[in-house]
Amino acid sequence: MVILKELGTPIKIVWCPGCGNFGILSAFKSALVDLGLERKQVVMVSGIGCHGKIVDYVNINGFHGIHGRVLPLATGIKLANSELTVVGFAGDADCYDEGWDHFCHAARRNVDITLIVHNNMVLGLTTGQTTSTSQPGFKTKSTPFGSISPPLNPIANAIVSHATFVARGFAGDPKHLQNLIVQAIKHRGFSYIDVFQPCVTFNYLNTYEWFRKRIYKLEDEGHDYTDKWKALEKSLEWGDRIPVGIFYKEERPTYLDQLPHLKAPLTKISIGNVDITEIMENMA
């Protein structure tokens, strides 16, 4: 069982001071402790972006992949070794722009992995451009006259795409986030947390302040997260009041649950002596 101080690595953290990523990092580490997992059991997967560096800051298994491909990578790892706990860390551009192809499909497929999206509503590492969750009018070097498209609503997309665990957290409230991460990892199936992650360098609009003024907790208002319809209603809420917490949760057989022939993790199946004579007989 891991203790917090074992989770550090020798790598210097190079996020901007005050970056929301710190909140996610600490929430994740504490969640691992809460969950009583061992270091070797857990694999982190990340995309490319400021968020992606998180893999270097936690002393567990890690795959710092390419931009946009957190979900397929995490899926592959879990399929191969179902004894691993696999947690993906993606950016908003990473997951909602470049990697959007995978999102709704991962939700449908329900492989037992967790996805945490560092949603700072900006491309951070490429020095600040508009992403698909940027607010209308948001001015950046790629939209100097302001973004002109309404933002994507990944929470709603997840819900209508049959995701079985859909939540939103706030990097400015790591305790709350920690709890969400614990529940997400415990959840059997695809679990997804969109995390509001203030980018103190490039997102002049969606600051800690901005979020704090608007955010409220679904659990504080008695939201029933087993009610899909209510969840959808909540997912459309935006403006003065923005909900965080668990929107939706349901139990549904995972992808691997539905493959009855698999009795053990694939990595444990010996490959030294596969017998293909029967197929060859059929070809004779």
């Binding site: 298994n61 990578l73 990595t267 004779a284």
Partner: protein, 583 residues
């Protein structure tokens, strides 16, 4: 009377069961101890159009179709119109007299034998069947009657191919066809098939199936692919075997997902594979580079078809060699193997998995439609020939340094490969440049060291291959020859046949097959070039990509190029004529 030397063409619309009938015909021949090659030509559409299957039967090993045919089974009029000129002297046509009116006069061929059969009427009236496709089996029965072949062999194949009740009605159809031909036609067809005794155990399969068998035998546990002709057959084969062989076979949302899922699975420790064709490979190329950088073992079957772009999706070409060799940004080692026949599809796939794991890099099987979708009778595979080798894999407990180094700098370039969940090892990698531990770095020295480390694997590999004497090239024919043919991949089949034709004409040529395109077997190729009197390269592309490689590596050009890029494979007769022209 020719015995056991036959080429048959079965033609009709898409959806008319042409491929199936061809398969049945060919397999029936194999069951009688004969050698068979069968190949299917079809268009990118589901119904209508023109499909045809060509089966070549012989008492000796066969490697490709021929230029001509001896018997046409025409399931529509178009088949006759398109192919009548391919009929050799004395050839025959089986056709439905209710659909097609044929006379020797209208065909302007006095030599032909016409075998009109009321195929559809038989199905409806005699068989009382609504499935019109049964007429194909009637025709097959008739064909075997003309060929004086043992009908029980076809019956056996039908039994093994179909569910009981379907098999039964097909057997009836075959019998009726057989009888009809016996009763209505003279025994004057110039070709006969005769059963041969053989102790060789043979199987009949296509390239996709051979690769699938190789993958299963090699212990592939995760197969992920998005359908794309001509690789789709492999997906179907793997999916059909998912449960029996404890695999996960997944069709994801596209090729980008496919390669990344496969890479994730390989990183976690199973043997993983994907397959696609050019357009899908474009989308995979970024993931390929990631596998290269993270030293993740992956096997990819890239199934060529004519490009550029969507091109001719159901036809064949060899236009992607250079692309595959250089795909993805930056420089990293990869292995590219181009099997040339069914046997190589099987054995090289097994080898590919070993190489991928031993050297921790992506291995590409570069194939094409003609190879993957042509069927051949081959000797059942020797499953003892290639042992599973997993290189430096560590699954239980890592006993090395206190902190495990996934990308440890070693003399060979290969690092010990612990898996996540291995005791004593935290496993970490990065698609960014990284240090030995897998932490991302931008340090110029480490960058240089890591590039050198990765590239060193190729040298190590080349050395090992040479030491173990694994075939990176193959050489056919005598050392002394008037010319040396050079090719890669599926052109092997027609070339092997062309060699036979030429040798019958006392023209002595030999043949260099380049099996490994990367690492390129420079020394071995050079040695062949050193003694070659004249070199003739044969490729299914426009720019002769193999000769560009030969130029690049050996600083020599080949003397002649025979190129074809119309989507169709070479026929051996045509090829041997072209060879003679340039000699």
């Amino acid at each position: 009377m020719k015995i056991n030397e036959l080429s048959v063409l079965i033609g009709g619309e898409a959806g008319a069961g042409i491929a199936r009938s061809g398969f049945l015909f060919a397999k029936t021949c194999m069951r009688g101890g004969l050698h068979v090659f069968g190949t299917i030509y079809y268009q990118s559409l589901i119904r209508g159009g023109h499909n045809f299957y060509v089966a070549r039967v012989n008492r000796e090993r066969v490697y490709s179709q021929l230029d001509y045919t001896n018997l046409i089974i025409a399931l529509n009029a178009e088949t006759v119109m398109v192919h009548k000129n391919e009929l050799d002297y004395g050839g025959g046509i089986i056709y439905d007299e209710d659909d097609i009116q044929l006379t020797r006069e209208s065909l302007e061929r006095n030599d032909l034998k016409l075998y009109p059969i009321p195929l559809k009427r038989i199905v409806r009236e005699d068989l009382k069947e609504r499935r019109l496709v049964m007429r194909n089996t009637v025709a097959l029965g008739a064909a075997f009657a003309l060929l004086q072949y043992d009908l029980r062999l076809l019956e056996g194949v039908l039994m093994d191919t179909f569910k009981a009740n379907v098999a039964e009605s097909n057997i009836k159809a075959a019998q009726i066809g057989y009888k009809y031909a016996e009763e209505n036609f003279e025994r004057n067809f110039g070709y006969r098939l005769e059963k041969l005794e053989t102790s060789e155990k043979r199987i009949f399969l296509n390239g996709n199936e051979a690769i699938g068998l190789g993958a299963i035998k090699a212990g592939c546990k995760v197969y992920v692919a998005y359908p794309m002709t001509p690789s789709t057959g492999l997906l179907h084969f793997m999916a059909a075997n998912e449960r029996k062989y404890n695999m996960v076979v997944l069709q994801p949302e596209g090729e980008v997902a496919a390669i990344n899922i496969a890479a994730g699975a390989a990183f976690a420790g199973v043997r993983a594979m994907t397959a696609t064709s050019g357009g899908g490979f474009c989308l995979m190329s970024e993931g390929l580079g990631m596998a290269g950088m993270t030293e993740t073992p992956l096997v990819i079957n890239v199934a060529q078809r004519p490009g550029p772009s969507t091109g001719l999706p159901t036809h064949s070409a060899q236009g992607d060699l250079r692309f595959i060799l250089h795909a993805s940004q930056g420089e990293f080692p990869r292995i590219v193997i181009a099997p040339g026949d069914i046997e190589e599809c099987f054995y090289e796939t097994m080898r590919a998995f070993n190489l991928a794991e031993k050297y921790q890099l992506p291995v590409i099987l570069l194939t094409d439609k003609y190879l993957l979708e042509s069927q051949r009778s081959v000797e059942a595979f020797d499953i003892t020939l290639i042992k599973i080798e997993r290189g430096t894999l560590i699954t239980e407990r890592y006993e090395g340094e206190e902190r495990y180094k996934r990308h440890k700098l070693t003399e060979t370039g290969v690092s010990p490969r612990a898996l996540p969940l291995t005791k004593g090892a935290i496993v970490r990698t990065s698609a960014n440049e990284h240090d030995e531990y897998g932490f991302t770095t931008e340090d110029p020295e480490i960058t240089t060291e890591m590039m050198d480390k990765r590239m060193r694997k190729l040298a190590f590999l080349t050395k090992e291959i040479e030491e173990r004497n694994l075939a990176m090239i193959k050489f056919y024919g005598s050392k002394e020859a008037m010319a040396t043919l050079i090719s890669w991949g599926s052109t092997k089949g027609p070339i092997m046949e062309a060699l036979k034709i030429l040798s019958r004409e006392n023209i002595v040529v030999n043949y260099l097959q380049v099996l490994y395109l990367q690492p390129f077997p420079k020394n071995k190729v050079e040695k062949v070039l050193d003694t070659a009197k004249k070199t003739i390269i044969i490729e299914n592309n426009k720019t002769s990509q193999l000769s560009s490689l030969i130029r690049e590596y050996t600083l020599r050009d080949v003397d002649h190029k025979i190129l074809k890029y119309d989507g169709r494979p070479f026929n051996p007769g045509y090829l041997s004529r072209r060879i003679k022209e340039v000699m």
